[in-house]
Symmetry: C2
Amino acid sequence: MRAGDLTTPALMADVGVLDHNVAAMSAQRPGSALRPHVKAFKCTALAGVLADAGHTGFCCATVREVEGMAAAGLGDDLLLANEVLDTRRLGALVASGAARVTVAVDSPETIAATAAGGVREVLVDVDVGMPRCGCDPADAGRLADDARAVGLSVRGVMGYEGHLMHDPKADRRADAVAEAMEVLAGAHGEVGGDVVSGGGTGSWDCNHLVTELQAGSYVLMDGAYARLGLPFREGLVLLTTAVSVSARGWAALDGGLKALAMDSGNPVLVGDGDVLVCSDEHTIVTGSFTVGERVGLRPAHIDPTIAKHDTLHLVDDVSAGADADVLESWPVDLRGW
Amino acid sequence: MRAGDLTTPALMADVGVLDHNVAAMSAQRPGSALRPHVKAFKCTALAGVLADAGHTGFCCATVREVEGMAAAGLGDDLLLANEVLDTRRLGALVASGAARVTVAVDSPETIAATAAGGVREVLVDVDVGMPRCGCDPADAGRLADDARAVGLSVRGVMGYEGHLMHDPKADRRADAVAEAMEVLAGAHGEVGGDVVSGGGTGSWDCNHLVTELQAGSYVLMDGAYARLGLPFREGLVLLTTAVSVSARGWAALDGGLKALAMDSGNPVLVGDGDVLVCSDEHTIVTGSFTVGERVGLRPAHIDPTIAKHDTLHLVDDVSAGADADVLESWPVDLRGW
């Protein structure tokens, strides 16, 4: 099938870009040195590509992601890198034997909920400077003791330096990451265990502490990350149709902010022209278009863009637009909570 | 069921607010004087409430919405207020007899596609000043002739003055709407037919031209519209759980920008405190919270927020948070394309 036969708006991923990005990351972070974050793409078929590349432990952000990965047979080692108070569904999953589940804890309440729900393994989540979850580093050892006291296995620590990922100056980024990871290393000394989990696409080559990198966006790349000069390429395009062309100098494309995440700004047009505005159902662009023409848009932020779609179409070449060959159509099956 | 028993994040609508808003709009625009826009809520159960209030013609933005409304038995008179080139699914719906379908056209190409696909009724979509779809007003009569020449029934015109909806000065808003509607009235004179469709929540009482108002957001209200002093109240709240509380002065709630549309800005906290940032999975807020506490967030823009959820929970009082009673759980069944 050609991409031109798809109902628009349709979300397309470039197989060549995906393969390149997976190989580039695997060269730096082979096997278990990478714990790919499925929140970036919410798609077990894409996760399967990463498992085939040797990365069989995964990072999740939601209970739904953990459940879906287990159901897809990808439950060897699932880390829910988030705090959860309602652990009933996770506990049921552990009891079923369908997955190994580890969850982040950062408080007496999350430790109690984890133990009560029947989850047996945890990481202590440490605040390394980002306004997010994570305990005071000084409390990490005590929380680990508390967790062990109620029968939990403490595998180690995690700390996410997401606030440092987008600094365009590589040296400065590396220095800031190193400083944040000193905090995590100190906490790890108090907590013990053999796992130090953290990092992401922006610190892929400068986070020298973590035993496993929690990167996800690199597979298809955000616009913001693409400006850092990393070796990963942008491979996600929303294919739209120009449904109206005005002599006043614009065209209306049939995909708007319900199909494109807008938290990191407007998408970028594939080809000549500029994006004027995204409304609920349309993106208004300048440039020369004919009614019915297929037009591509590169979203600024891939994670929440993919989460707006029920299907991700793998194509041979996103830049070919309507002429691209659709190789596979993958369900985005990890949406929701 | 109590709202506190829902998996968070969970989207809740207030039944009292909904009933108030529906009644206030129906008093001004009874029966067919209102053509509610289902794009605002993408939920046939909520559309059924509006049909029960006497509004049995609906406005849709996507083919999927038209199909879903027909399948729910709400297909008496469905207007797809958007241009479509691939009209095969709409034509099949017309052929099945499941719905009366009217579609917007604004070019020779959309007229040809509509006729070829088997849709028989159209409105001529006229540019009334907003960068969007719509023909040059001077071309409207000729396009109507072209449509009739290929066997289409031209029911009238539509023109959407969405760029004028958010002016906080009511007088200025009314003057601008009147000016835009003069353009539409002129085009209507050339086109003929008995339908003049347009307007929205922001022009609910100052658009004196349209025979049917295309309002949708009023049912649960956007933050932006709420600042206009309209008689409609805000009734949509995302219920979250505080999963982490930091001594550094913030709490992390378990709903972020995958659960909240961000195109119109940050959500607003229900209760005391401020939103610092929304990330993919978390909203970070200031204020006094305990781990496990349920916390509500009012989204800035309801249309794309609801489109991120598969369920909308109708509750007796959104401000009651975890203590609200869940009256019904409605599938958001018109998502996708």
